[in-house]
């Protein structure tokens, strides 16, 4: 069996109780797989003894969970109010242009995905974006190209954050 699935099984076996553990398990699954595809959803449904429809219902209710794979570089633009009034919409628009994808999309070569999120609590640095969890503050539209370029040439290591 897939080693990631094995890890997931081990996590589920270690739960105190399966009752009410669906969201915790989904968090764990997303950490392991990067997203939660249908077969993993079915696997969780089976392991927790709940209907697949319920798993699907919960996965799609919460924006933190994704049913599609993300890019190697996961770009999140904060669209919280503090960032919005300091020009986040213009930054987001520029990323869309630069990458040629919409919010929620992934580039064809799977290198970049673009998401908008609601406040990461670094409002003092607004507008804020993150790439694989590494936070960039006070971003301007004209910085967008160099951030994308940096990913392509040097890469960006994870900031260890969940976004």
């Amino acid at each position: 069996m897939d080693s990631k699935l094995q890890k997931l099984n081990k996590f589920i076996d270690g739960l105190d109780t399966k009752e009410g553990a669906l969201i915790t398990t989904l968090h764990h699954a997303q950490e392991l797989f990067g997203y939660i595809p249908e077969d993993v959803q079915n696997h969780i449904a089976h392991a927790l003894n709940v209907p697949s429809s319920k798993v699907y219902g919960v996965v799609t209710f919460y924006s933190f969970f994704s049913t599609k794979p993300k890019g190697k570089y996961k770009i999140s633009v904060c669209m919280g109010t503090a960032c919005f009034v300091r020009g986040a919409a213009e930054v987001l628009e520029t990323f869309k242009q630069e990458l040629g994808i919409d919010v929620g999309g992934v580039t064809e070569d799977m290198q970049f995905s673009l998401d908008s999120i609601r406040c990461m609590g670094a409002c003092g640095l607004a507008p804020v974006i993150s790439v694989n969890g590494k936070v960039f503050g006070r971003v301007k539209p004209e910085d967008v190209r160099s951030i994308v370029q940096k990913c392509k040439t040097e890469g960006i290591s994870s900031g260890g954050q969940g976004w």
Binding site: V58, Y62, A82, E93, C119, A122, R145
Partner: protein
């Protein structure tokens, strides 16, 4: 690690800690989310490295703390014993601080705060305008202790309130004290906390829950995050006190997944509290059992609403329940549940230690104590400000906040997030309390305060909030699910210059229907941003409709950037900076914007050295 078996042992432990002579020099570095994003973690590492190289470990101690609140100027470093306050410190500055300041006794001048209005330099925190007029009750330990060390908390009287409650007060007496203090919920509703505790205590059941709402959904607000990052034990202690008062043996912190650092700090604190015996069975030998665990959110705003939160904790979709029954009767797994906000809890230990009379001496007649606000937007000093209730808004914005950025004019202050409203500049002298904010069509909310200037369009702001609500509506009831979508469509139409006067009427009517007929607080308050901006900035809406014009120059459909051939020298600066790019032109020849491709980011407008680009 010590296990503490009685209140006496806790007191002894504290006095043992105070016998420990602190290092001669102490360097406090901010390790909150904001400063960490500006590399404050590397800064602390650099300090440690330099200190180790010079073998100064015995003389200098580095203490990572929670947020100092002055996020605008972060990363912050505070040096003791001489209490020097450094701002915007980069990892490379560690060298100068150790060599020049600590070893040579010379303050590093270039890292001191300069008051933008007077030009004066300040070396001490209490002389900085941002900290004057603040009163720190909930934030008392933030920036003062290492949040990952329970001993630091105990040194500051940590867990003494729990000891006092368990050994010197009956549950009823604790509830009476909280009632008498006048403390009201800081999560938005402002419900009297003691009354809620009493109701939950009176619900008969073998099992009850104490919940801390740490979902902090209002985007742009970060009070609860800073509290949990800077003083997590205060929240845990308060939950245990609530458990004693209400008769619950289990606590649960529901925290948003977007706050990984706060999650980490709380997790650390909970495990330390267990090993010290501040949580677990027979706490301090009192016979009282209480445990706390965490439950992670997953990015749904509606889960901040208390009944949705309870469904989410149970692993379900976070859809609200019909009230009544209230959580005090039927909460998590249908058991009586007391739910309070992070900041509400953070006030509890102080109320128990210093007494209800002390607390109720702060604030206004109906709103007691202090409130933490997260200042953000077009304000000079972005950060956290804690002020007594009743402080005029003007003091917060212009005193603590240092006024509006870039010399612009204040237009409005938004409080209460997606549930709140915009306060126009001429209401600035209003003393802040629950009732006052409501009377002018906004609300206290959780404490987010977004400052807007003349370049912000109120239609655009209302549209922004509606877009948020539409995305976050759980869909359970029709007025909210469909109504908000329609509101958003109408606003879109108006901001595109296609609105009619009838649309303005429909906005208001529809808003009122949604407010009156939605199931939960999300829908009931979602029209507020529209209704309040219409009330105070009606002429701005009319300009969009009648003149097809956005007075603030924000709504992109009504806006075009143009290059004036008379002023353009063909310097190519605009073309180089345009992120699309969509500016054509040879060097020394007039440039031209290809309008179809322009995303209206305004970069060219701000970059042109000759002022050749105009908004039309």
């Amino acid at each position: 690690m010590v296990k503490i078996n009685s209140f006496k042992e806790l007191k002894e432990h504290k006095s043992r800690l105070s016998e420990h002579k602190p290092a001669e020099w102490r360097i406090f570095t901010c390790a909150g989310t904001g400063c960490a994003a500006s590399d404050s973690i590397f800064l602390a590492e650099n300090f440690r490295k330099i200190i180790a190289e010079k073998n100064l470990q015995d003389r200098i101690q580095v203490i990572p703390t929670g947020c100092f609140g002055f996020c605008e100027k972060g990363p912050i470093v505070n040096i003791f014993p001489d209490d020097t306050f450094y701002v915007k410190v980069s990892p490379d500055d560690a060298d100068d601080i150790v060599n020049q300041h600590i070893l040579n006794g010379q303050v590093v001048d270039r890292l001191l705060y300069i008051d933008p209005q007077t030009g004066e330099k300040h070396a001490q925190q209490h002389n900085i305008g941002f900290y004057q007029n603040q009163m720190r009750v909930a934030l008392r330990n933030c920036g003062k202790i290492n949040p990952e060390q329970i001993d630091d908390y105990i040194s500051h009287d940590g867990y003494f309130a729990l000891g006092k409650a368990l050994f010197e007060m009956s549950p009823e007496a604790v509830i009476e004290e909280v009632k008498k203090s006048g403390l009201r919920g800081r999560g938005g509703g402002g419900f009297p906390t003691g009354v809620k505790w009493e109701a939950t205590r009176k619900s008969e059941s073998d099992k009850k829950y104490i919940v801390c709402n740490a979902d902090e959904g209002d985007p742009g607000a970060f009070m609860d995050r800073s509290l949990m990052e800077g003083d997590p034990h205060a929240v845990i202690e308060a939950m245990a006190i609530a458990g004693h008062a209400i008769g619950a043996d289990e606590g649960l912190v529901y925290i948003r997944a977007e706050y990984p650092l706060a999650v980490h700090r709380l997790k650390t604190a909970i495990s330390q509290a267990f090993s010290y015996g501040m949580l677990g069975n027979n706490i301090m030998g009192s016979g009282f059992n209480f445990k706390v665990r965490m439950s992670l959110g997953a990015g749904a705003f509606v889960c901040g609403e208390e009944t949705s939160l309870m469904n989410s904790v149970q692993g379900e979709r976070g859809e609200p329940r019909v009230k009544p029954p209230f959580p005090a009767q039927h909460g998590i797994w249908n058991q009586p549940t007391n739910i309070n906000n992070v900041e509400t809890y953070a006030n509890i230990p102080q109320i128990i230690l210093k007494g209800a009379d002390w607390f109720s001496s702060i604030g206004t007649e109906k709103s007691k104590g202090t409130k933490v606000f997260a200042l953000a937007g077009k304000i000079n000093n972005v950060g956290l400000a804690e002020v007594p209730m009743g402080t005029p808004l003007r003091d917060v914005i212009f005193g603590i906040g240092g006024g509006i950025r870039d010399g612009k004019k204040l237009k409005a202050v938004q409080t209460g997030g997606p549930s709140g409203g915009c306060i126009p500049a001429d209401e600035l002298d209003l003393p802040i309390d629950y009732e006052n904010l409501q009377s002018i069509g906004s609300m206290m909310g959780s404490g987010g305060m977004i400052v807007m200037d003349e370049t912000d369009c109120m239609v655009d702001v209302a549209k922004f909030y509606l877009e948020f609500t539409v995305g976050e509506s759980c869909g359970k009831c029709t007025p909210c699910r469909i109504g908000n979508l329609r509101l958003h469509e109408l606003l879109e139409k108006i901001s595109n210059g296609h609105g009619t006067m009838d649309d303005l009427k429909s906005l208001r009517e529809l808003g009122e229907v949604i407010r009156d007929t939605s199931l939960c607080g999300l829908g009931q308050t979602s029209p507020n941003p529209v209704l309040s901006t219409m009330n105070y900035f009606g002429d701005e809406y009319e300009a969009h409709v009648k003149e097809r014009r956005c007075p603030a120059g924000k709504c992109t459909s009504l806006l075009r950037y143009q290059i004036s051939p008379e002023k353009c020298t063909g310097c190519t600066v605009c073309a180089k900076n345009c992120p699309v790019p969509c500016i054509e032109g040879e060097r020394k020849v007039t440039h031209r914007i290809i309008q179809e491709k322009c995303i209206k980011c305004g970069v060219c407008y701000s970059k042109c050295p000759f002022g050749a680009i105009s908004k039309v």
